[in-house]
Each structure stands twice: as structure tokens, then as C-alpha cells.
Amino acid sequence: MKNLQTLMQAELLEALKDFKFIWLTIFFVILGVTQPLIHKYMDVILEHAGGADGITIDPNRTTPSSAEVLLSTVSGQFSQIGLVILVISFMGLIAADRNNGIQDFILTRPVSVRSYLLSKLTSHWLISMFSISIGALISYFYTNLLFDSFSFTSFLFFLVLYSLWILYIVSLTILISTFFKSPIIIAITTILLSIFFIIIKGFNHIFFQLSPGGILNVAENKLLSLQDINYFSILTCLLFVLLNISLANVNIKRS
């Protein structure tokens, strides 16, 4: 436990020294702000950006609800562009340690591989959730300001569920990192697998239940105040996290 704490401190301190906390947060804040602004002022933006020739904006279009705006921010921006940036920021989390020999120095001490992996998982999940939460909070603030008000409790509940998806992404990056040395290959493989799990959840009910990507739907439903919380998807996501870390554990001990 003490070793886990020491390793986590080092990871968090490294993120601080690398300005990862800052640039990742700025990135998610920009994503969080742009979506409500674009939804609200699309016609004004088009007009000031050289006119809206050829584009017809229905003046009677329905104003989206705050839940829909938030959903498009998180599902559209955070889960797509955000995912790519997150994975790119994590791609060296095991590979760098392995390539420069730090992993060997750590594991020759009375530190278990499990503690080492858990420190990576927890710290990078915290770093991500710090940035995502601030981005999402800013988005929530702008959405409330520009559209109708939205329940903060539902928003928080959504964030908690969404954080499980991020936990899964970090665990997947860790697992892939134990197979490959090249950060680029790690990033591409993780992104493709994440997209795969998002896509297959839509195939049918069984795939939905068995895909860790199902947690995204659960989170989105909470945002839209749909009450059918699927606890099985939460369990599936957590089981996949456990599976990823267990496989990574075995792989590090063998490779």
C-alpha cells in the first residue's frame, strides 16, 4: 500500500512537471465550451465567418435541451477527439518505463507488479478525470447559461458513470503497453479497440451487455434522465478493467 502511494505520487508529480494537468485540462475546457456555443450561435458564427451562402438554417428549428447539448459535448467531443488525445497522452505510460529501464529498477524492489500497474491505472485515471471533470463542468456552466437549467445531481451521476469508461480506456492502454514497445502502435491499437467496443455494443442486446462500451449508453441515459440504469453494463465494464490489469500483470511477469 505504501509503495502504491509512492508510485502514484511520482506519477502525479510527473504529470504536474510535464504540464499534463494543464494542457489536458485546457484541451477539455475548449471541447466543453465550443459545443454549447456552437449550438447556440451557429447562425451568428456562420454569418461572421464569411456568410452562410448555400447553407439554410431553419429559423424555426427546435432549440436543443441542455441534456442534448451536454450529450453532444460528451458523446461527440469527449468520446471521440477526447479519446484520441487521452490515449496519445497515455501511450508511453508503461513503454517509457520499460524502454528506459525504470520498470526494472522498480520491480527489483519489494514492489509487486500489481502495485505497479494499479499505480499507473489510478494516477492516469485521476489525471484524466481531473481534466474531463473541469471541461465537463465548464460545459455544464455554459449549457445552463445558454440553454435551460439541468440537474446538477444527474450531471454528477453521469460523470461518475463516464469515469468508469475512462477507467476502462486507461486499463486497455496499460494492457496494450505490455505487448508493444512502440508508443504509436500502442496508441493506434488502443484507439481501434476502443472504437471496436463502442461499435459492437450497438449490434444487439447481448453484445451491448458484454461490451465495456455499454457503460457509455448507461451514462448517456442518465444524462437524458432515462431511468433504466443497466447495472450489468457497470459490472461488465469493471470486469473488463480487472481482466485488462490481470492480463497485463501476467504479461509483464513473462515478457
Binding site: N3, T6, E14, N100, D104, F105, T108, R109, P110, K253
Partner: protein, 278 residues
């Protein structure tokens, strides 16, 4: 299969060509890899339970570049479970020992290769290990860096049991009391550096005045006499030779012997014999 033991205080060289399995063996010994079969024991217990008594230095040593030398040692010391007060005191002491006391507040990224390797040695000895495992500690360094690290190893040899993996045979000959030679994952030689008497058929003899020899010194037991230098000869026998008999034979022939000893094979010769395919 590997079956060998290292006694307390020994400095053992682990030699072998590239791909022989040296690093894999070392990674198993240090608990980085977990062997699927077999046991590695340390003081009669599984070595994995004695990680705190093992110090390890790898060929390519690097640290978190944003940490200072002192912070790096404190980080690894904490992971070794060292007491806070002891760690603080020993960090200063170890940095002084490896010659980095003045650089303790410098970031690792500012250090040269040799300095990083010295810091690597510092992290390996920080917790006062009983067994020090050094994997190719100088092979990635320039001559200056090599010299710095070799001096340190020579000092460490006096107080710790060392397993030194290297393909630089001169270094092995300088530091090691014993060599374990491996090839394709198997031990092919376990040789004592001091008492390497595997070849008693050859003798090096230095005589007083080689020009004064009147008759051939070869006989039924000495089949060949090869001149190495002005007064030094390598005698090759048909069977194992007895030094006293050779001395007696030579004095009968009026040849004064200055020194006589069995020819000891150089480590390079032994190594090549053991790892060659023929």
C-alpha cells in the same frame, strides 16, 4: 538448465555470447521475470522473498528526467521500504561514495552517461544489499564513463557479493573470482579464476640465460618447447606435468630456472573454447 550457487563475498562473472540467456537469467534472479519452472534460492528461501537484499544495475540506466539525483534515490529508497531517517542519511552517503554529492540537486537529464550509471550504482547499493547484480554495467559507456564505473565496482567488490554479467572479458578477468559461462540457455563452464588448473599439460618457465642451453630440453614427457620471450618458454607435455620433476630435469641439464608455473588459460581462450560451435 541452470544449476549454480554463489557463495557470500564472491564476485562471479556471468559470461556468454549475445542471446545466451544472461539477461533472462538475471531478470529471473531479480524477480522481474517469473520462471515457469525451477527455483532460485537466496539463503535457503525463494529469492522473491529477499528482494530487499538484492541490488540491481542494468545496462541502460535511466531515471525520471525531471527528478534530481537526490530525489531519484529517495524515490527508490522509499520503494525499498527504507526508514525515512536512514534513507536521508544514506542518500547523502551513497551520493558521496559514487562521486555525485556535488550534483545531488542536478536533474538527471543534466547528467552524462557515466554519471547516470554511477547514479544507477547508487540506487543499487542504497539499501545495502547483500547481493549486487550488475548487468553489463559498462558496455554502453564511453572510455571515461567505463573507467569511473570500473573504479566503483572495484570498491564494491570488497564488501558485497557480486554477480557481474558482461561480454567484456577483460573486465571479468579484472573483477571476478569465478566465471559462469552460458551458451544457449545452458551452463557450459563454471571456472575458478584463481585455481584454474584445468590444463596441467602446459608450463611457463623462465630461465636464467636461454643462450646457455646446450642440449634440447624436450624429452619423453615434454613434447614441445615454444619460446614466448627472450628467456621464457611454454612447455607442452604429452601428459600432465609435475613441476618438481621438470625443475629436477632442467637442473640436471645445467639450466637455472628463475620461475616456473602452470600455464593458465586466459579467460578469452576458455570462453571461446566453451561457446564455439565446433
Amino acid at each position: 538448465m541452470f544449476l549454480f550457487s554463489i557463495s557470500k563475498g564472491e564476485c562471479v562473472g556471468l559470461l556468454g555470447p549475445n542471446g545466451a540467456g544472461k539477461t533472462t537469467l538475471i531478470k529471473c534472479m531479480t524477480g522481474i521475470l517469473h520462471p515457469e519452472e525451477g527455483e532460485i534460492m537466496f539463503n535457503s528461501k525463494a529469492i522473491i522473498q529477499h528482494k530487499r537484499h538484492i541490488g540491481y544495475l542494468s545496462q541502460y540506466t535511466d531515471f525520471k528526467p525531471w527528478m534530481t539525483c537526490e530525489e531519484s534515490l529517495l524515490f527508490f529508497g522509499k520503494l525499498s521500504g527504507l526508514d525515512r531517517t536512514f534513507l536521508k542519511e544514506n542518500t547523502t552517503k551513497v551520493l558521496e561514495e559514487v562521486g555525485l554529492k556535488d550534483r545531488k540537486n542536478d536533474k538527471v537529464e543534466q547528467l552524462s552517461g557515466g554519471m547516470k550509471q554511477r547514479l544507477g550504482i547508487a540506487q543499487a547499493i542504497l539499501h545495502q544489499p547483500l547481493l549486487l547484480i550488475l548487468d553489463e554495467p559498462v558496455s554502453a559507456l564511453d572510455p571515461i564513463g567505463r573507467n569511473e564505473v570500473k573504479k566503483l565496482i572495484a570498491r564494491l567488490k570488497k564488501r558485497a557479493t557480486i554477480l557481474l554479467s558482461t561480454h567484456i572479458l577483460d573486465d571479468a578477468a579484472t573483477f571476478c573470482d569465478r566465471y559462469i559461462i552460458i551458451r544457449k540457455g545452458t551452463i557450459v563452464g563454471d571456472i575458478d579464476n584463481e585455481n584454474n588448473e584445468s590444463d596441467r599439460k602446459r608450463i611457463i618457465v623462465e630461465i636464467e640465460n636461454a643462450e646457455s642451453i646446450k642440449e634440447p630440453l624436450t624429452n619423453s614427457e615434454i613434447k614441445e618447447m615454444e619460446r614466448i620471450s627472450k628467456n621464457t618458454f611454454l612447455l607442452t607435455g604429452t601428459k600432465k606435468l609435475d613441476l618438481t620433476e621438470v625443475v629436477a630435469d632442467f637442473s640436471q641439464k645445467g639450466v637455472d630456472i628463475v620461475s616456473i608455473r602452470f600455464y593458465k588459460k586466459e579467460i578469452e581462450e576458455i570462453f571461446l573454447e566453451m561457446v564455439s560451435d565446433t
